[in-house]
């Protein structure tokens, strides 16, 4: 009977470009991809730090580079990415917190997301105000 066993021939599908299959995955990948610009921004700051430690001339060179058109454009892009990060971070937040019960009812995911977003907006504004 083992001959019959061989008739079972499970077919395994490929995972190639799986992330194109569903808009949900595309959104997920975009969220993951924000990291590239986050990393870039961190590196820009790191270079700034290096320049700072090397003295005024070096630092001013770095500042100068920041003032260039392409740099400003790049930072606009980075800003957009950070804003998307902000949104997507709190969108996922309800999944990462233990369930919260208020008066015996589970706190809805949206409430958590919007509270988070609101908090982030406020903190960002405070940072801005302090800096100005």
């Amino acid at each position: 009977m083992s001959a019959q066993m061989d008739k079972r021939r499970p077919y395994v599908r490929s995972m190639n470009s799986w992330w194109k299959r569903d808009p949900f995955f595309v959104r997920y990948m975009v969220m993951e991809a924000t990291s590239v610009l986050v990393a870039l921004y961190a590196v820009i700051l790191l270079v700034g730090l290096l320049r700072l430690s090397q003295g005024e001339a070096a630092f001013n060179g770095w500042l100068g580079a920041l003032e260039s058109g392409p740099s400003i454009l790049l930072h606009v892009l980075i800003l957009v990415v950070f804003l998307y990060h902000l949104w997507s971070w709190f969108k996922v937040m309800p999944k990462t917190l233990p369930m919260i019960f208020v008066n015996g009812k589970k706190l809805p995911a949206d409430t958590i997301t919007y509270t988070g977003v609101l908090l982030a907006v406020v903190v960002n504004l405070i940072v801005l105000i302090i800096l100005v």
Partner: protein, 251 residues
């Protein structure tokens, strides 16, 4: 029965291991009523057009978990998805993603079952209790801590949704990890320590990258993404606490 005037084209992924080298789409034209589910469409095909089409089903009411399949690319229960939502377009039906295809719309689920068995999905009593002592007391609030996670019908839609499972099937996956959390979170249970070795591993919570599509497709609002990700913080704390207090919490 009402007059049947509408028809819809259903493209079904066929694969018969004894004769087909690889899967292909076959199109059937199905007359339908407005309240027909995709499952009813498939049953029509099986009964009236092509008896060789294989798929799993039983309850027809979204509770037995048999009829999960990809419907226009989304993991769904065929018995709870309605043809009218696709008409007048055609509709594509395929077996659940990320599982090997056994035949037609039937996938091999042994891996899922093995995983389910591996997490000790039963009460390991905190305090043993005799039947004569009656039930354990459990307040509605304590019940709420795990009730949602106990609603899993093992339909595996979340597995078809989770790319991490698709990329590496060693990952225990959303549904089963939610079940693990269900027992850990039950006030009657004291078995968390025994289950967490898996939880702390790469095959456990850490195999998840928080894609969260699993929760999106779950037909029973189990929210497996939450069951997994709310455990990451605890698992991380435990990771570091180990060094401070080697016989620390939860093992």
């Amino acid at each position: 029965m009402a007059d049947t005037t509408k028809t819809i084209e259903i493209e079904v992924l066929r694969y018969r291991p004894e004769q087909d080298k690889e899967p292909f789409f076959q199109t059937y034209t199905v007359p339908f009523e407005d309240d027909w589910s995709v499952l009813q469409g498939l049953q029509y095909i099986k009964d009236d057009l092509d008896g060789t089409l294989s798929f799993r089903w039983s309850c027809r009411m979204a509770i037995c978990g048999s009829c999960g399949m990809m419907i226009d690319g989304k993991p769904r229960l065929a018995c709870r998805t309605f043809l009218r939502h696709y008409h007048p377009n055609k509709l594509r039906v395929g077996p659940l993603e990320h599982f090997p295809i056994e035949r037609d719309l039937v996938v091999v689920v042994e891996d899922f079952i093995r995983k389910l068995e591996s997490i000790k999905p039963y009460i390991i009593p905190k305090e043993p209790r005799k039947l004569e002592q009656g039930e354990y007391l459990q307040t509605p609030a304590q019940l709420e801590q795990f009730r949602q996670f106990s609603g899993c019908i093992n339909c595996m839609l979340c597995y078809a949704a989770c790319p991490q499972y698709g990329l590496d099937s060693k990952f225990t996956g959303p549904g089963v990890l939610a079940l693990m959390h269900r027992y850990n979170a039950d006030s009657r249970d004291g078995g968390r320590g025994e289950r967490m070795a898996l939880g702390h591993s790469e095959e456990g919570f850490w195999g998840c990258t928080a894609v969260t599509y699993c929760s999106e497709v779950c037909p029973k609002d189990v929210d497996p993404a939450n069951a997994i990700n709310q455990n990451k913080m605890g698992s991380a704390i435990d990771y570091f606490l180990r060094f401070v207090a080697p016989r620390g919490a939860g093992k």
